[in-house]
Every structure is written in structure tokens, then in C-alpha cells.
């Protein structure tokens, strides 16, 4: 049973870069900060590709934001996604707006499955997946993971972590939750969000990067979709947390224990 999968590809600041706040607190310093595909979305793209490789179908990547979001959509297509949709909007976005915009695209694209990273590592809100599922009245399975190691043979073979039933109507998902792993079967169409350890995303190959340049990237104006674009999550001010000061080096275990016992009083 081929699957049509819509998967998100948000542009975010590189998680290895140092994030600093502008002096007036209105945003972050972007000069010299590189961007990349949100790591959780990268895992979602990888899972979509594996499902397509197993079952056939189509992988469509989607993002909302400014023109530069094309870069990350191309990166997802370089990994293997078939085409991309960018909902163009220059103003601030929040999960309320983004989920409403994505819902409009779902209505026209009619995918069997929407895959999203469980959160984006810039705003760290982790909301868009469940918001979207509720708007569509679809089942959801958040924090999709797997119990086999990312070093295992199955992982080397790029086997999907999500299991499609023989009749193609249901997806079995292992969810990483507090205290263990829950197994859910969700009827399709459904929304699934991906946890870190679902898979190890592939690197784009050079031919993949070349091919991605020619793959279709459709742009839609957010204002044309009939969605209220007023932000409901209003960021008033950003600050940097007080830096944690380094302490002292101790000579040996005896001195360390003594300090922990007498000075810090934690043991």
C-alpha cells in the first residue's frame, strides 16, 4: 500500500552555535550563526523516506516562513523527498498559526500521514503536531521512537521504525514516554511526531543534492489560505540567563569530597 507522506522541514539555528540575544531583547543575533534543518524534522524526513522505500508512495516536505526556508526544503529533497511546499510568510509565526496553515495544505494534498519533529530546537514549544492533529480530527502518536539500538543491523538496513499493517490502514508506533515505551496503533490518516532515537538520518549524497535543485518547490502565500495570521504567542522580550560561573579545580578525590561535604554540603 503506497503512502503519501507530508513531512515538516523547519529552518532553525544550528544547535552547535552560540545563541546570543540582541541588546534590545527583540531577537537573537543571526550574524555568523548558521542554520540547518531542525534535527527532529530531519529524523521525520528520514522516517518518511524509509516508509516510502518500503511501501512506495510520495514524500512531500513542507515549511512556513520566509524565502530562505527554501534552503532547508532543498536539503530535505537532497535526502530524497520528492517535492516541497513553502508557505511564505514574513511575520512572526507561532504553533497556532503554523498548524492552521499546515491543516490547509493537508486539506488540499490529502496525505495518509503527516510526520513532524516532536519539537523545533529554536522556540522549543513542541506543540505543532498535536495542534494539527486536533484541527484535522486525526489520531496522533507523539514521540515516536524505537527500542532497537541505533547501532543495530536493522538500523544499518534503514528499516522504518513505524510499522504499517498488512492492509495499509493502521500504523504501529512505539512512543517514548515517562518510565517506559508505549505501543499505539493509529488508524490512517494520522499525525506522528518523531523523537530523537527513531533513526539516524542519512547524509545527502552529491547526486542527491544535484537532483534536489530540479525538484519542484511550490510557494503559497500564507495570506491566500484564509488563516488568521495574528500571533497568539507574543514574545515580549528575550534575555540571556545569567552565565554559570566556573568554580575551582580540586587536586584529588580527597579534596573534592571534603569540598562537597563541608563547603557545598551536598554529601
Amino acid at each position: 500500500m503506497p503512502l503519501k507522506i507530508l513531512v515538516t522541514a523547519k529552518r532553525v539555528e544550528d544547535p552547535e552555535s552560540k545563541i546570543r540575544v540582541l541588546p534590545d531583547g527583540t531577537g537573537i543575533v543571526t550574524d555568523g550563526v548558521s542554520t540547518k534543518l531542525n534535527p527532529f524534522d530531519e529524523i521525520a524526513v528520514e522516517e518518511a523516506l524509509r516508509l516510502k522505500e518500503r511501501h512506495g508512495g510520495e514524500v512531500v516536505v513542507i515549511s512556513a516562513g520566509g524565502e530562505k526556508c527554501q534552503v532547508e526544503l532543498r536539503a530535505a529533497m537532497a535526502m530524497g523527498a520528492d517535492r516541497a511546499i513553502l508557505i511564505r510568510h514574513e511575520g512572526p509565526l507561532d504553533p497556532v498559526i503554523v498548524s492552521a496553515l499546515f491543516a490547509k495544505v493537508v486539506e488540499s494534498e490529502k496525505p495518509d500521514l503527516v510526520l513532524l519533529g516532536k519539537q523545533a530546537i529554536d522556540d522549543d514549544q513542541a506543540q505543532t503536531g498535536p495542534y494539527l492533529a486536533e484541527r484535522l480530527d486525526w489520531p496522533q502518536a507523539t514521540f515516536a521512537s524505537k527500542t532497537v539500538s541505533l547501532e543495530s543491523e536493522a538500523e544499518q538496513k534503514r528499516e522504518p521504525g513505524l510499522t504499517l499493517s498488512a492492509d495499509g490502514k493502521e500504523l504501529t508506533v512505539l512512543r517514548e514516554v515517562d518510565g517506559g515505551v508505549e505501543t499505539l496503533a493509529v488508524e490512517l490518516p494520522a499525525v506522528v511526531t518523531t523523537e530523537l532515537r527513531l533513526n539516524k538520518p542519512r547524509f545527502a549524497s552529491l547526486p542527491g543534492i544535484m537532483k534536489a535543485k530540479k525538484k519542484p518547490l511550490q510557494e503559497l502565500a500564507a495570506a491566500s489560505l484564509g488563516v488568521d495570521l495574528t500571533p497568539r504567542v507574543v514574545v515580549k522580550r528575550l534575555t540571556e540567563p545569567p552565565p554559570r560561573k566556573g568554580g575551582v579545580k580540586v587536586a584529588d578525590v580527597d579534596e573534592l569530597w571534603k569540598k562537597l561535604h563541608e563547603e557545598a554540603k551536598v554529601v
Binding site: 537573537i28 514574545v235 528575550l238 579545580k249 562537597l260
Partner: protein
């Protein structure tokens, strides 16, 4: 005047400690909004957990029905939305656990509400309460306002005290749980990770291992057990398959704020620091004197962890 509804959580009929932090946050919030604080508990066979919750001085609404036994997000979200209506709550909150992170955004969408995740604190009064929350893995703190009539939030438990026992217990009211519906989701099972150790996010002491363990966590676990601590790991150690997934501390793992955090053989990548820099006292043990972890550690020991950790464990055992 805006009422606050806190969604509490139970597992197998036992109240989760995280919920008591959420009740404390709710109490702090009604201090600003002037409304009434109520809590709710959803599940099947949750009477005892509800009584325990009420003993912390908060009125509890109980939705107890077989179809609520498993935390299916769409089912619980429909029930929570009804509870918000019933309690006329302007604020809906919970502890930022896997349950709430699955449920509350869905409930928020149902209520046409905006949401703030991992809230660290509140500011302002009356209708204009704003939320302080981390962004970019805690490298940035944001003050956010939610402009919808109902405002939804989860709190980071390490930032709020536990609600106190005692005083007059709250009332416990059973509320009709409504029809079961057809969620198009089946719960097939739960595989629990059993541990004799305290939960990572609730432990007073955490001992974590990284790349420097070279895959041998015996010294890390030995010290953890000597200190009655939870065991954590860096992403590098988890990715290498040396430590189970749920040990990971960091931006993409668990955020911990123990009294004492011991980082052994962990270099201190930004990713990892985001998960532990809220610890009161940080100890770093690393062979590399240049490791970035030393820049944020209160006590740094340049040493081989395979010698230092057992020596520390011996002292810990001797002092018990």
C-alpha cells in the same frame, strides 16, 4: 479574576510527584489572577490518587472511566476541554511530562487557546500574566504573552516547589466522563523501564557518564548507587548505544536540576549543558583539562574517571 485548572497525572493509580509541582505553580498563578485553583485527574480507578492530591489543599475533579484508562490524547483532550468549560478556567496547566506534552497542545487547539511550554515562572497580574520560558535549549529566556481567552501552559517541575501537605483537604468531586467515542487509536501495550534508582528528573543527585566512559558505565553506576543517585548520560554515550535512551540529559533529552550533578567523562557540549545547568552544584571529572565542562563546574577534577569515581564511591559508602 481568572480560575486556574491544573491537570494532574497518575500512573497505575499512583499520583505522580510532578503533579504536586504543578499544583504549586497553579497556586502561584492564582495569587496573580485572583481566581480559584482546581485540579483534575483523569483515568480509571484513580480515587486514591485523587484523595492524595486533595490532601494538598486543592479541590479535585475526578473523571474516572474505563475509556480514560490509557492516556489517548484525543480522548483526554476532549474531556479536558469540557473541564475547562465546567470550571470556567482562564488558565489550564500541567507539569511538563510526556503525558502533558502529548495532551495539552491538543486540548489547547480544541479550546482555541495558545500555549507556553516548559514555563519557569510568571510575571504580571490580573489578565496580563506573562510566562517566562526557555528557548534555544535554555540559552535564551523569553517573556511571552498568550493573547487567547484561555491560556495553556506546562511547567518545568524543577522551577517550582512541591505543594505542601496539610491544612484543610480539598473536596473531591466526580464528574461525568462523557461517552467513550471512537478515537481510532488502540493502546497495544506499555513496556516499563524498571529501576531501583530514583527517577532522573526527580533525583537529588545525578551521576552522568559520557564519551570518556568508553562504554563502561560500571564506575558511573557504582558512584550513583553509593550516593543514592539517578544515572544520566550524554547524547554521545546514548547514540553509541552505551546507555539507554531515557538516561540522556540534554536539550534533546531530559532536563534535570538536582542538588548535585556529577559529569564524568563528559566534555560539556552546549546540547548537554542545556539539560543540567540548573543543577545547584556541578562536579566535573575529566581527563582532559581543556574540556568545556570545567568552565561551568563548581568543582573540577582532572582525573581518570575509572579511578576517581570508585574512590568517591568508597567515601560515600563510608559516610553513610
Amino acid at each position: 479574576m481568572s480560575n486556574v485548572l491544573i491537570i494532574a497525572e497518575q500512573g497505575g493509580g499512583t499520583l505522580r510527584k510532578a503533579s504536586l509541582h504543578a499544583v504549586a505553580a497553579g497556586r502561584a498563578l492564582v495569587g496573580r489572577t485572583g481566581g480559584k485553583l482546581q485540579a483534575a485527574l483523569l483515568g480509571s480507578g484513580v480515587e486514591a490518587a485523587a484523595q492524595e492530591l486533595a490532601a494538598h489543599g486543592v479541590p479535585v475533579l475526578v473523571l474516572d472511566a474505563p475509556h480514560l484508562a490509557h492516556p489517548i490524547a484525543s480522548v483526554h483532550a476532549a474531556a479536558v476541554a469540557k473541564l475547562v468549560e465546567l470550571t470556567q478556567a482562564g488558565y489550564l496547566g500541567a507539569a511538563s511530562t510526556a503525558y502533558a506534552r502529548d495532551l495539552l497542545p491538543r486540548a489547547a487547539a480544541r479550546l482555541g487557546a495558545a500555549m507556553a511550554t516548559d514555563v519557569l515562572g510568571f510575571a504580571g497580574d490580573g489578565p496580563s500574566v506573562s510566562f517566562r520560558r526557555p528557548m534555544w535549549a535554555g540559552n535564551v529566556l523569553a517573556e511571552v504573552e498568550l493573547s487567547t481567552p484561555v491560556k495553556v501552559f506546562t511547567i518545568r517541575t524543577t522551577e517550582f516547589e512541591l505543594a505542601h501537605l496539610g491544612g484543610a483537604p480539598g473536596t473531591v468531586h466526580r464528574v461525568d466522563a462523557g461517552p467513550a467515542g471512537s478515537p481510532r487509536v488502540r493502546h497495544l501495550g506499555f513496556q516499563s523501564v524498571k529501576s531501583e534508582r530514583p527517577a532522573l528528573t526527580e533525583a537529588r543527585v545525578v551521576v552522568s557518564g559520557g564519551r570518556g566512559t568508553k562504554g563502561d558505565f560500571a564506575a558511573v553506576e557504582g558512584l550513583a548507587d553509593a550516593l543514592g543517585a539517578a544515572v544520566g548520560a550524554s547524547r554521545a554515550a546514548v547514540d553509541a548505544g552505551w546507555a539507554p535512551n531515557d538516561w540522556q540529559v540534554g536539550q534533546t533529552g531530559k532536563v534535570v536540576a538536582p542538588e548535585l550533578y556529577v559529569a564524568a567523562g563528559i566534555s560539556g557540549a552546549i546540547q548537554h549543558l542545556a539539560g543540567m545547568k540548573g543543577a545547584r552544584v556541578v562536579v566535573a571529572v575529566n581527563k582532559d583539562p581543556e574540556a568545556p565542562i570545567f568552565q561551568i563546574a563548581d568543582y573540577g577534577l582532572v582525573a581518570d574517571l575509572f579511578q576517581a569515581l570508585p574512590a568517591l564511591a568508597t567515601r560515600a559508602k563510608a559516610s553513610r
